[in-house]
Each structure stands twice: as structure tokens, then as C-alpha cells.
């Protein structure tokens, strides 16, 4: 019996195609939910929330301090990663500015050096002035700023995705 596809009897050819078709449908039935589950983070929208970080009165003019607040998308098992942070600066005029802790070079956490009034990144030596503009090093742009407001005497920062620069 010739085994080439052209010479297969019609019924056998039909059954072969049916098997391939049913296999493809089966693979899709299993594969699509798996792919959807794995790719879900691409399509999820996380509503941003205002988080209270303290009374406006507790922040002195001209000072920059670290504040912590709960992330918008925290889950029950997140542990300490449910918390995120920002550098909150109160200008001499009383206005507030909130900077992301992530260096715009590769995302490492910047430190505030009070005496020098500079933000410094420990990874590759990125340096920022107190207003978040780049002073030196590899950062391509200024520190990311978070929306901040004062409401009923309380300072609130809006949760923001990790800045991917």
C-alpha cells in the first residue's frame, strides 16, 4: 500500500484531517485560558488611590523625608512589598512635592543626603538636586514625581505604577 498522502483513501484522509482539527481545538481550549491567565497583568487596570502619609503640620518647610504608604494593588500575601515609598519634600513656600524612590537610570532606590541636599543612587552613582533634576551620573531624566495634595490638613500621595523609564 502506498503511504503517500496523495494516495490515501478518502476516508483515511478525512479522519486524519478531523484528528488534526480536533487536536487543534483541544489545544486551543487548554491553551487559551492558560495564555490569558499568564498575560492578564498586561490587561489589568489598577485604579490609582490617594494614600494618607501624615498631617501637613508634621512636615517642616524645606525638609525632605521618606514616607511609606500602601500600594494600590497589594494582595493579602504581599508582606512588606504591600508597602511602597516616596521622598516627600515640603518647599519653603509650603508646597509639597513627592518623588519616586526609583532612580531613572535602572530603578535602584535613591537616598536623600540631608547635608548635601542631594539624592544619590548607590548602584551607578546617579545624583539629583533637591528638586529632582539630574546633577550627575547616568540618569537620563529627572526623578519621577507622584501626584500629591493636601486635603483637610492631611498630605495624600496618589499610588503610581513603578516608573519604567
Amino acid at each position: 500500500m502506498n503511504g503517500s498522502r496523495e494516495n490515501l483513501p478518502g476516508r483515511r484522509k478525512m479522519l486524519a484531517r478531523l484528528s488534526i482539527g480536533l487536536g487543534a481545538i483541544g489545544a486551543a481550549l487548554v491553551g487559551l485560558p492558560v495564555a490569558g491567565f499568564l498575560l492578564a497583568p498586561l490587561f489589568e487596570t489598577v485604579s490609582r488611590k490617594w494614600r494618607n502619609v501624615g498631617s501637613a503640620a508634621q512636615f517642616e518647610n524645606g525638609q525632605t523625608v521618606e514616607v511609606k504608604f500602601e500600594d494600590a494593588s497589594s494582595v493579602a500575601w504581599a508582606g512588606v512589598t504591600a508597602q511602597t515609598g516616596a521622598w516627600l519634600r515640603r518647599e519653603p513656600s509650603g508646597q509639597f512635592t513627592a518623588f519616586a524612590v526609583n532612580c531613572t537610570h535602572l530603578g535602584c532606590p535613591v537616598r536623600w543626603l540631608k547635608d548635601a541636599e542631594l539624592f544619590m543612587c548607590p548602584c551607578h552613582g546617579g545624583v539629583y538636586y533637591k528638586d529632582g533634576t539630574v546633577a550627575a551620573g547616568p540618569p537620563p531624566r529627572r526623578l519621577t514625581q507622584y501626584p500629591v495634595r493636601v486635603r483637610e490638613g492631611q498630605v495624600e500621595i496618589m499610588t503610581t505604577p513603578t516608573p519604567i523609564t
Binding site: 508582606g79 535602572l106 513603578t162
Partner: protein, 233 residues
């Protein structure tokens, strides 16, 4: 001994194990290869160590962002021989990266990537990338300061891939920020996804085509499997 042979023959008749392992164990080794010959097998040996110690560690490791670090502290400080197991996995990872590098350098310098092994070189490059990824994802599983911030650095770097970068970053983090979903994802990458790809790609390189003169010399020497095993030991 007789019973062992009977058991082996029973097993082999049903699995064809000797047909799979035989050519690997008995392949002739060209003369004057020396220590340069063993780095591929040494890499495989390091990989086996990683698999065995990794499976053992996974029985106690908790891949939850809230508890991962504490579970590692327990493994290190309280579990019986836990510190030894972590040490083997930790240094085994470095050894594997080092051995892969040496193996590839040796392959390049001796021209062993040429016919009939061009495709093995390509697969080797893929395996090198997968080995680096294993090292990187494993480092994150410690979930200490280094691990968490390395995750962000990885997301930043992925974010710079043209066009799809931001999507890649979100897939790596499992969301928009480092959180509960992030570590679970990296655990799955480290334990399931990447090892599956390594197993799918991994196979010994085909034997060199020896000239009749070299083949006669090779037949007077230990076989490849014997040589590899003795030098691993």
C-alpha cells in the same frame, strides 16, 4: 551480580535504556583532548546538582512575598543540613555559569562548532542564555533587599526593549509594581519555565568524526562516559 544483570536486562528490554545511554557512554574520545574535553559533562554535572538541591529546597521554600525570606532563614538556620543545601545550590549556580562559559570558550577556540555541530553551537548559545536567566531568577527568590531591587532593575532593563518593552516589564513584575504577584512569577520562571526549556534543548553534542588513525588510538583509551565520570569524581 548475576541478579543485578538479570534486573538490568529486564529493565533494558522494556525501556531500551542501553540504546539511549550506550552511544553516549561508549563514544570514542579523540587523543590528546585532556582536561579540555570534560567541561560539557562538568556543566551537566553542575546542572544535575542544581536540580537535585533545588528540588530539595523547594520542599521548604515558600514562594510568597510575605514569607519567602523567613522560609529561607529557617532553611539556613534551623533545617537539618539546610545551610549545606543552600550553599550547594548557591555555589553550584556560580559553578554552572563558570563551566558553561569555559565550555563555550573551549568550543570556540578549538573550532568544535564546525560541521557537523553548527546547530549544537546555536543550541549552546540558547542554553547559555537560559543558564544566566536561571541564575538571575534564582537570585531574586532570596527576596532580600538585593532580590527585590534586582527585580526592579530587571523590569527597567526589559522596559527598554523597543516597542514591547513596557509590556515585558509588566509581565516580569506580574503587574504595575513589585508586589505579591511578582515573586510567584519569578518562582514559576525559575522552577518550571526555564528548566523546561533547558531540558528541551539539552543533549550531548554528536561525536567528532575521527579519522581511522585517530579512531584506532581512541579505541585504546577509556570511552567518553568513563573519562567524564572519572574526571567529575
Amino acid at each position: 551480580m548475576r541478579y543485578l544483570r538479570i534486573a538490568w536486562e529486564w529493565f533494558d528490554a522494556r525501556t531500551d535504556a542501553s540504546k539511549v545511554l550506550g552511544p553516549i557512554m561508549r563514544h570514542p574520545v579523540p587523543p590528546r583532548t585532556g582536561w579540555m574535553y570534560v567541561f560539557g559533562s562538568a556543566t551537566l554535572f553542575a546542572f544535575i546538582i542544581q536540580v537535585v538541591t533545588g528540588i530539595a529546597l523547594a520542599t521548604a521554600y515558600v514562594s510568597s512575598a510575605g514569607q519567602a525570606f523567613a522560609s529561607l532563614q529557617w532553611i539556613t538556620d534551623h533545617a537539618f543540613l539546610g545551610h549545606l543545601l543552600r550553599g550547594m545550590h548557591y555555589f553550584g549556580a556560580s559553578a554552572m555559569v563558570l563551566l558553561v562559559g569555559i565550555h563555550m570558550i573551549r568550543t570556540f577556540l578549538t573550532g568544535s562548532y564546525k560541521f557537523p555541530r553548527e546547530l549544537n553551537w546555536v543550541v549552546g548559545v540558547v542554553l547559555l542564555g537560559l543558564t544566566i536567566l536561571m541564575g538571575f531568577t534564582g537570585q531574586l527568590l532570596r527576596w532580600d533587599q538585593n532580590g527585590v531591587w534586582s527585580t526592579i532593575v530587571a523590569a527597567e532593563q526589559a522596559g527598554r526593549v523597543p516597542v514591547i518593552g513596557p509590556w515585558l516589564a509588566r509581565l516580569l513584575l506580574g503587574g504595575q509594581t513589585v508586589g505579591g504577584a511578582t515573586l510567584s512569577r519569578f518562582f514559576a520562571y525559575h522552577v518550571f519555565f526555564i528548566p523546561a526549556m533547558i531540558f528541551a534543548h539539552g543533549r550531548p553534542a554528536p561525536c567528532a568524526r575521527l579519522t581511522p588513525r585517530h579512531l584506532r588510538k581512541a579505541q585504546r583509551r577509556p570511552s567518553g562516559g568513563t573519562e567524564d565520570l572519572s574526571r567529575m569524581v
